[in-house]
């Protein structure tokens, strides 16, 4: 009968080496998470400066109504800031999902982004009034936790955002943050929102999924200049 050799020592050494390699991977993951958080904080600070700049622009418009060049600056800046905000938001949401130890910090940053969106929405409304801008604003109320069709609505909004560029501003409001951020229920109360997704297109409310064709028509109908839809 075969005399079987023991490999106990080899099992232990292999275990130690595996643990070392695995730990190195985990360590890299932690370093990455830390760097991502630093990045997210940096971007948030930049957004804060951008907001102050836009806010100042808006105040200047109040003071110097005749200076129409301020309107075009506002429109371009608003668009730029919102595009950056959109990209950063998408990225930080991903970081938040992948993070194991910095979830709370990321949630704070995401709350900040939510507030930014509401503040920009207010500036956009004001700008549209004062400068007679032909833009469409959409407040998009969605939930990641309780709404299965919201991603579809999100896709359609992104599509039209691509299509109309600077003339369409979309402000996503994640209602899952309503417990942490009291302004969300206030905003929901203003528009009497209790289902998701809900779109508020230039202050008119549309509940449930708005399909591609319908959404296109609603956006077009909201432009003052119908030729924008051609």
């Amino acid at each position: 009968m075969v005399k079987r050799e023991s490999y106990k020592h080899m099992y232990i050494i292999a275990g130690i080496i595996t643990a070392l390699i695995f730990s190195l991977g985990l360590l890299l993951g932690l370093v990455l998470d830390y760097e991502r958080l630093q990045y997210a904080n940096r971007v948030t600070k930049q957004q804060e400066v951008n907001f102050k700049s836009l806010q100042l622009n808006s105040v200047l418009l109040d003071e110097f109504k005749s200076k129409k060049e301020l309107c075009s600056i506002l429109q371009v800046s608003l668009q730029q800031v919102l595009t950056d905000l959109g990209y950063s938001l998408e990225r930080i949401e991903e970081y938040e999902k992948e993070s194991d130890i910095n979830k709370e910090e990321y949630e704070l940053i995401l709350r900040n982004y939510l507030l930014d969106n509401i503040r920009y929405w207010l500036i956009a409304r004001r700008g549209m009034d004062m400068c007679n801008m032909d833009m469409v604003t959409i407040l998009y109320f969605f939930s990641e936790e309780t709404c299965d069709i919201c991603p579809t609505q999100g896709t359609l909004l992104t599509y039209y955002k691509k299509k109309y560029g600077n003339d369409l501003l979309v402000f996503p409001i994640n209602v899952d943050l309503r417990k942490e951020e009291k302004v969300v229920p206030v905003l929901m109360g203003i528009f009497e929102i209790d289902t998701y997704p809900t779109l508020v297109i230039n202050d008119k409310k549309y509940e449930g999924l708005v399909n591609r064709e319908e959404l296109g028509k609603l956006i077009c109908a909201s432009f003052k200049n119908a030729s924008k839809c051609k």
Partner: protein, 424 residues
Amino acid sequence: MNVAIKVLLFTLYLGLLYSLVFFFLTFLEKTGIFKKENKRKVIHLKHYPMVTIAVPAHNEEQGVYSTLASLTRLDYPKDRMEIIVVNDGSTDNTEAEVKRAIKDFPELKIILINQRNMGKGAALNKALEIATGELFACLDADSVVEPKTLKKMVYMFNTGGKELALVTPAMKVKEPRNILQRLQRTEYIISILLQRLLARMDSIYVAPGPFSVYRTSIIRKHGGFDHTSITEDQEIAYRMQYHNYKIAHCHDGYVYTECPKNVFKLFRQRNRWYRGSLINLLKYRRMMLNKSYGHFGVFQMPLNLFSFFLGAGSVFFFVYFFIRPLARQVRNLYLTDFDIATWLKDFRFNFNILDLNVNILFVVAALFVFSLVVMFIAHRNAREGLGHRGFISLLAYFLVYYLLLGLFCCLAIIELGLGKKQKW
């Protein structure tokens, strides 16, 4: 990624990494022995035992003649060999081809037995019934044996002690023509190294059909081949381990075998292997984690079982990391009537180095580096070159072939679960 998926990913990763590290360390430990073995050039046998070579053949008109022809070139006294071809209910010209070989190679003692189709195990048992050899070699009718192979294997029996029941050959792919066959060639080369290591740890779990050589008295004592098994070559190896016999591997005893030339045929072959493997794991579960079976029970059998989780896991994570995001993009396009022009409008390359999932990348990189090292060692061990397109074929091996086998593995598990039957 939710917690359950993360746990699954890291479990598979740890299991695979641990196995690779273990085999790598074992290789380093055995390097001295391997070098000594590699230096062996000429073999002188003091004793030439009678060898029966059983060739089960079912519809093998294409290869049986050349298989028998390869036996004429064996560096072994022809009067110490008998060849028993069991024509297992062939419906083609196998019988005529064997008769042609009998006529053309009078120096060989070839016995032809015709029987109704009963499967490979039964055909081997038929040959075992009338075999006069001290050693009993099985040879698939689509395989060709290198001239020195039998002598090398007999040498191992002569020097390996009475408990040596079986010697497995170093199996290579015969004339790989297409990409799939080249990928299998790489797989077989790795397998030679693995078998060599496993033999040193008394953990070989398969006796390949092409030219595994048995000690006749031992397999007779234990009832011959299991004709009910769809993988009688695995079953006999498990049985030999179960009865604590020694199984050796002849790392330079080459035998060349035909391998499936298309995905469908490969699927059929692997489906049988994987299902057979699961059945054998279940049949010999008493050895699982049983210390008295040494490394075979403690490590190899759990690893064989783990490889099924690994196969299914690879497919799952491929879908999770690649197919799912792709499907999402296709869905987005579908929702917008495939208006690609709009989606590409103001395209911004929004890449940040921090977006890279370092954990996953590290997993992939660590496994890839280890696998590459194994690959290079395996090619050297099998005295094969990587070729000028070596690196590309290695990438294809890791990126495509592994995944394909993983998919086959999943299907085998499903079919076994559904109780689907398959003949040999």
